[in-house]
């Protein structure tokens, strides 16, 4: 008899996920399923094992995990692997993916990949590893407990993509890392507890042109909070970084021509003393309106390789100034809160960094 009291069964109504294979979707109910025909698929039960649990070997696939859990059981293989070489239009969404070597691995070049509304945990490698996905979206994914990166996008092809509204926590390597991108947006992500060693960043972009790093929060990382190498013609604004292991935001010397605006960075150098709030080695960057307080190094550091930077209306207070100097290039700034070692940098004034009025 399945009659139950109202209270208990009200709970049941809201806890049992639906299992409908409606709308002509093909059910997936066995671990080890290989999807080799284009179409729409729906997982109809929790799947354990399979190594990999699901393989996608063709493009034009929509895989709805349907709220189910895919658990590879700790094997070295991915939970979901996409090997649709040369094709595209793979969408994976709405479910939980656990305990794989890499939990979602896209191993072949492709286009138009979308990962949405996933919960990912217990990955022995990167939680999501996309290799040469030319156009991709990773959106509303919650990641915790990865022994590698949270989201890793690499490969020699220049990638366009959006990494948006993801939560990444407790990774042993960089939480969000993209190597080789253009027209890339890293937007509104939440990064927490990047517990790996040096080189474990909160967000790291390598060789990214026309990219956005916007409204992310980064908290408690093993190395620099937002690490931008070769960052050109991009925007970094409205990010919040706290307790970065080393620098809060760092733009290396191979980058240029970007805007760094209205970021809040504090308590940098939580792992390695001398971490600055905002450290810019790049050229011709506009730096404005940032709040850079209580960092181990200086709040605002314009490094020796930098040139022709423009800055104004920044705030830097309560910084310790560990390891900075000589800070002797004009305009000479004011350790321990700011430091300029680059040539041709220009302030347009109204910085709220302790110093002369209207500096």
């Amino acid at each position: 008899m399945s009659a139950r009291m109202l209270g208990l069964l009200s709970l049941l109504v809201f806890t049992l996920p639906p299992s409908f294979a409606a709308e002509g979707r093909t059910p997936v109910w066995l671990p080890g399923t290989a999807i080799s025909t284009p179409g729409r698929y729906i997982v109809t039960r929790n799947l354990i094992g399979g190594a990999p649990t699901i393989s996608i070997t063709v493009g034009n696939v929509d895989l709805d995990l349907n709220g189910m859990t895919l658990d590879a059981g700790g094997v070295a293989a991915p939970v979901i692997i996409v090997v649709a070489g040369g094709t595209g239009d793979v969408v994976i969404h709405d479910g939980t993916v656990l305990n794989g070597g890499e939990n979602i691995a896209v191993t072949a070049p492709g286009q138009r990949l979308v990962l949405e509304d996933l919960k990912i945990g217990g990955s022995n490698g990167a939680a999501i590893h996309l290799t040469d996905s030319q156009n991709f979206v990773v959106r509303r994914v919650t990641i915790s407990g990865s022994n590698g990166e949270g989201i890793l996008v690499d490969g020699p092809i220049n990638k366009q993509g959006t990494i948006e509204k993801n939560l990444v926590r407790r990774t042993q390597a960089t939480a969000i890392r993209v190597i080789g991108g253009s027209s890339l947006a890293v937007v509104e992500n939440r990064v927490e507890e990047v517990v790996g060693p040096a080189g474990s960043y909160g967000i790291a972009l390598d060789n990214c042109e026309s990219c956005l790093v916007v409204q992310n929060t980064v908290h408690n990382t093993g190395d620099t909070g937002i690490f931008l190498r070769g960052f050109k013609s991009g925007k970094v604004y409205n990010n919040t970084v706290h307790k970065a292991g080393f620098h809060g935001i760092f733009l290396d010397s191979t980058g240029s021509d970007s805007l760094v605006l209205n970021n809040v960075v504090s308590a940098s150098g939580a792992v390695l003393a001398g971490g600055c709030g905002l450290f810019v080695d790049a050229d011709r960057v506009m730096i404005e309106g940032n709040t850079l307080n209580a960092n181990s190094g200086v709040g605002l550091r314009l490094g020796a390789p930098s040139t022709l930077l423009t800055f104004g209306r920044n705030t830097a207070r309560g910084n310790t100034g560990v390891g900075v100097g000589p800070c002797a290039v004009a305009p000479a700034l004011f350790p321990p809160n700011s430091c300029n070692d680059g040539a041709g940098n220009t302030t347009f004034g109204t910085n709220l960094i302790p110093g002369p009025p209207l500096f």
């Binding site: 639906p18 409908f20 294979a21 409606a22 709308e23 002509g24 039960r45």
Partner: protein, 373 residues
């Protein structure tokens, strides 16, 4: 032509071994447009198709106006008549006077060509978040209405799972004159997993035939995964494959399912004539009152040894309600009993309205006795 004698019939349930036979025909509705590969048709969600395990496999039977997606279906006893429920509210393209709710059941009167409300879910206390997912009648067109829902559904103080089937009893005229009666099929007790959703159901004799929305593990005996298009039957103790639809794609659900229905009974029209073949007799009768009759069995007994009848012919060749037989020696009596793949109907009634007993050997079992529509 000489009229000799005529008889009518029915009986209580009697388990007599019958010959193995196909479970078809059955009637189905897909949840989406479905390109089946057995005969190349494309059943649509607003079409009821007859399915047979032999060619031509799928043939259209009824197209509901307004192209609504059908949920549950039931083949009624009344010729050409159907019950069905809807996936979403519809007035069937104007064929109904008002919108039918997904918790309602609609009747189609095949003779009159009229659609009307048969069961009004709101009046019967079914919450507005529930769809009637599967339905069938127990005991003929005037019998109880069995329903299954698409989500856990509260009726009174109790909740019923999407795999459960509950009974409603007619208590008053009109589509609102139904009252909850009992739980008919307890899915959890029958081993259906918590997420199991029955999207089609019907009885076939003593078996309950199910359609589930996704691949589902069922047992006993053992655990067998039934895919969409593979219809399991529950005997009360175990599952077995009832029918696997030929050419049915796994991506389509069998959203509506109806079995052969009730065989019914033939009216008092049996005539026994002299045959052109010397020594033979020709039996002539009228069709059963129920469209569930797929064939007819001839029973012969010894006059004076009442209820000694046993089957001598289980098929009406040509389905022309006429059959020639070679009578046994001595004085004999004859009964004609309708049957289908699910069982056989009435043997008629003896004095006092008591059903005649089933034959010593039968054409189909169990016996299914219902009143005529």
């Amino acid at each position: 032509m000489r009229r000799l004698r005529w008889f009518l019939f029915v009986v209580p349930l009697l388990a007599v071994a019958g010959a193995a036979r196909s479970a078809t025909p059955i009637w189905i509705v897909p949840d989406v447009p479905t390109q089946e590969t057995a005969s190349g048709t494309q059943p649509l969600p607003w079409q009821i198709f007859r399915y047979s395990s032999v060619a031509p496999f799928y043939t259209p039977e009824l197209t509901v106006p307004g192209n609504p997606t059908l949920d549950g279906i039931e083949r009624m006893d009344k010729p050409g008549s159907w019950l069905f429920s809807l996936e979403s509210a519809s007035d069937l393209g104007g064929a109904l006077l008002a919108l039918a709710d997904p918790r309602d059941v609609i009747v189609y009167d095949g003779a009159a060509g009229i659609y009307s409300l048969f069961f009004c879910g709101a009046a019967a206390g079914i919450p507005d978040y529930s769809n009637v997912d599967a339905l069938f009648l127990l005991g003929g067109d005037k019998g109880d209405l069995a329903l299954s829902f698409d989500v856990p559904t509260q009726i009174g103080a109790a909740f019923y799972d999407p795999g459960d089937i509950v009974l409603y009893k007619k208590v008053a005229p009109g589509c609102g004159g139904w009252a909850f009666s009992a739980l008919f099929f307890d899915a959890s007790a029958a081993g259906i997993p918590p997420r199991g959703n029955v999207i089609g159901a019907d009885t076939c004799g003593t078996r309950l035939v199910l359609s589930l929305d996704v691949p589902t593990d069922l047992g006993p005996p053992g655990i067998v995964t039934y895919l969409p298009g593979q219809l399991p039957a529950w005997t009360g103790a175990a599952y077995a494959l009832f029918e696997a639809l030929a050419g049915w794609p796994i991506s389509s659900g069998v959203d509506g399912l109806a079995c052969a229905g009730n065989p019914g009974l033939i009216p008092s029209t049996l005539q026994v004539n002299k045959s052109a073949v010397p020594g033979n007799l020709q039996l002539v009768w009228s069709a059963s009152c129920s469209q569930g009759a797929a064939d007819y069995g001839i029973y012969e007994g010894v006059l004076g040894t009442w209820y000694s009848h046993t089957q001598i012919d289980c098929a009406d060749a040509g389905l022309d309600f006429t059959e020639e037989i070679t009578p046994g020696a001595g004085n004999r009596y004859y009964l004609v009993v309708p049957h289908n793949v699910c069982g056989e109907g009435s043997y008629g009634q003896k004095t006092g309205g008591i059903e005649r007993p089933v034959g010593a050997a039968v054409c189909a079992n169990p016996q299914i006795v219902t009143t005529c529509p």
